[in-house]
C-alpha cells in the first residue's frame, strides 16, 4: 500500500517555508521519507528469528551475559559431584553417571530466570514500546528472546557435558543420546520461560521478578529426582517429586542420554511443556497488550 501524497499538499502549508532555508539534512530526510517502499510483511517465524538475532547481538555487545551460562554449570557440577558423590554413591565416578543429566537440567533452569529480569529491564527502558507498536505477530519479540536464550542454554549444556566427560561421565546413549536429551531440556526451558515473561509483566521491578522466580525454581529443582532417588524420601515429598514436571524431564533426559527407554516420562515432559506454553503463553500475551 502506498501513501497518498497529494492529500497533504492542501494542508495549511506547514513548514513549507522553512524548507528552503534548511540545510542539507532536511533534503536528505525528505528523500529518506519519500521512500514509499512497503516490503511485504514478514511471517511469525521470520520476525521471531529477527528478535533471536537481536538477542545474539546483545550477547556480542554484552559478553558478560555468558558468565552465568559457563560459571553456573561448572560450579554446580563440581560442587554436587564432590559434595554428594562419596556419601551417596560410594564414589564420585559412580555418582556422576546418575547426577550429570540432572545437573544439566538444574543449571539451565536456574539460568532461565534471567529471562524474566532481562525482559523487565527492557520494558522499563521503553524499547518494547517500539516493538509493540510494530505490525508484527505479537509474541515474536518474546519468542525471539526465548530463542536467543536457547543459544545460551546450549552453551551451558555443552560446558556441563564436557566437564562431566572429564570427571568420568560415560553416557550409554552416546552423542546422539546427548543431543536428544539436550533438545528435551531446551524445549522444557523454552516453555518454562513463559512463566518468567508473565511474571515480569505483572511485577514492577526486576528485583521482585528475581525473588519470585527463586521461590518457584528452588522447590522445582531441589524437590525433584535430580540429586537422589526419591524412594528414600517421606511420602508427602515423594508425592510432590512424582508430579513435579522437572522430575519427568530429568528421568527422560537420564534415559535418553543413558541409552535406555524413557517410558512415559518422555511424553509427559512434552505434555507439560505444551501445557506451560498454553497457560503462561496465553497469560503473558494477555498482559502484554497493556504492558508498561
Amino acid at each position: 500500500m502506498t501513501l497518498d501524497r497529494t492529500r497533504t499538499e492542501d494542508a495549511d502549508e506547514p513548514g513549507g517555508a522553512g524548507l528552503n532555508t534548511e540545510h542539507d539534512r532536511g533534503s536528505k530526510i525528505l528523500s529518506a521519507l519519500a521512500s514509499s517502499e512497503r516490503p511485504s510483511p514478514p511471517g511469525p517465524l521470520s520476525t521471531s528469528l529477527t528478535f533471536g538475532w537481536r538477542a545474539l547481538l546483545k550477547i556480542k555487545h554484552v559478553p558478560e551475559q555468558l558468565f552465568d551460562v559457563t560459571v553456573f554449570p561448572v560450579m554446580f557440577t563440581l560442587l554436587f559431584t564432590f559434595l554428594f558423590g562419596g556419601a551417596l554413591a560410594g564414589s564420585t565416578v559412580d555418582y556422576i553417571q546418575f547426577l550429570l543429566p540432572g545437573i544439566m537440567v538444574q543449571g539451565v533452569i536456574m539460568i532461565t530466570m534471567y529471562t524474566g529480569t532481562t525482559l523487565r529491564t527492557d520494558l522499563e527502558k521503553g524499547v518494547f514500546d517500539r516493538f509493540r507498536s510494530l505490525p508484527i505477530w505479537r509474541p515474536s519479540a518474546l519468542v525471539g528472546m526465548l530463542l536467543g536464550d536457547a543459544v545460551r542454554f546450549t552453551i551451558s549444556l555443552t560446558v556441563t557435558a564436557l566437564l562431566g566427560l572429564l570427571l568420568g561421565w560415560r553416557p550409554g546413549g552416546g552423542f546422539g543420546g546427548f543431543v536428544i536429551g539436550a533438545i528435551l531440556i531446551l524445549l522444557f526451558s523454552f516453555s518454562l520461560g513463559w512463566i518468567w515473561t508473565f511474571l515480569s509483566l505483572v511485577l514492577r521491578t526486576s528485583g521482585s521478578v528475581m525473588g519470585v522466580s527463586m521461590l518457584v525454581i528452588t522447590p522445582l529443582t531441589f524437590g525433584s529426582n535430580i540429586f537422589v532417588d526419591p524412594s528414600t524420601m517421606p511420602g508427602w515429598l515423594q508425592a510432590f517429586v512424582e508430579v513435579n514436571p522437572v522430575s519427568h524431564l530429568v528421568t527422560s533426559v537420564r534415559a535418553v542420554m543413558g541409552g535406555t527407554d524413557p517410558g512415559a516420562s518422555l511424553p509427559l515432559t512434552i505434555v507439560w511443556s505444551a501445557v506451560l506454553i498454553a497457560v503462561f503463553g496465553t497469560l503473558t500475551m494477555w498482559r502484554y497488550r497493556d504492558a508498561r
Binding site: L3, G18, A32, S35, G126, S133, L134
Partner: protein, 328 residues
Amino acid sequence: MTEPAMTDLAIETHGLVKVFGDNRAVDGVDLAIRRGGVHGFLGPNGAGKTTTIRMLATLARPDGGTATVLGRDVVTEADEVRRRVSLTGQFASVDEDLTGRENLRLIGRLFGYTGASAKRRADDLLDAFALSDAADRQVKKYSGGMRRRIDIAASIVVTPELLFLDEPTTGLDPRSRNEVWDIVRAMVSSGTTVLLTTQYLDEADQLADRISVIDRGKVIAEGTSSELKASVGSGSLFVRVMDRDDRDAARAVLERELGVEVRDEADPNALTATIDEQGRVTRALSALDEARIPLAQFSLGQPTLDEVFLSLTGHHAEEKTDTEEAAA
C-alpha cells in the same frame, strides 16, 4: 478487506478514558484532528498527554470511550493502525545495547526488508540523520541529541502516515532542539501528519498548526495558536519606564486608563497588562506622557501561551507540576 469510509480525520476520539488505580489519567478526551501538519498536545507533566498518545498508538487499551486513528479503531483494528503509524516516545525506544545501525536494521527486518535491503535502508537513514560516524557505536554512548535522532530515524524506517512524537525535545540543549524541529518540519512537508506532545509553549507555538491544551486528563481548549491567544484578550501591553522610581506611578496611571490589572515584571522598570481593547492603549500612553513619566520602551504584543495557560487553568504551564505531583 473493505476500506473504511475515507475520512480526512487523522485522529478522532470520543470520551477516551484511562484509569490507573484511582487516578483518572485521561478523563474523557474528545479529539478531531485533521490530516496533514502538526497537531500539538500542550500540557504540564502528568496532564495525560503521554497516556493519550499510548492509547492512540495501541500501546495501552482505553478503559472507556472510542478512538479511531486514520479511520481504524485502535482496539479492534489495532494491527491496521500499527501498519500506518509510528511512535517516538519520551524514553522510547531503541535498544541501547545495540549500535545505531543494528537498531535500524532490526526494525527494517521486522518490517519485511531482507538482509541487504534492510542494511541499505539503515545506511540511508543514518546518513540523513547525520549519524553515519556513530553508526557502529552502541546507542547508550550517544549524546541526547543523537539519541533523539536515532529514535526518530527508527520511526520512519517505513514512512508512516502519522507519527506520534512524545516530548521529542525534553532534556535537549537548544541546538539539538532546533535540529529536531527541522526534522519535524521536513517530515510534515513530505506529507506525514505529526501529533506532537510538549510541555514547552514555544515549541507548540513554533511547530503546531493547531493545539489542544490538556490539563488533568481533559482537553480544556483547542485551536490555532492565534485563536488560543485571542481567547485570552487582544494582546498584552509591555511598558518599561526610564526611571524605576516611576514604576508605581506608571502602574496607577495605566490601571486607571486601561481598566485592567497591571502586573510588575521581574525587571524593576517593567510592567505588563493584558488588554481587551487596543483603543485604550493610545490613551493610556498619552496619559503617561501627561503625567511626565518618561518611557524607555513600550510594545504591544499577542499574549504568550503561558498567559493562555494561566487564564485557562488558573495556574502556569511550567513550574507548578512537580509540586502537584509530589502532593498527589
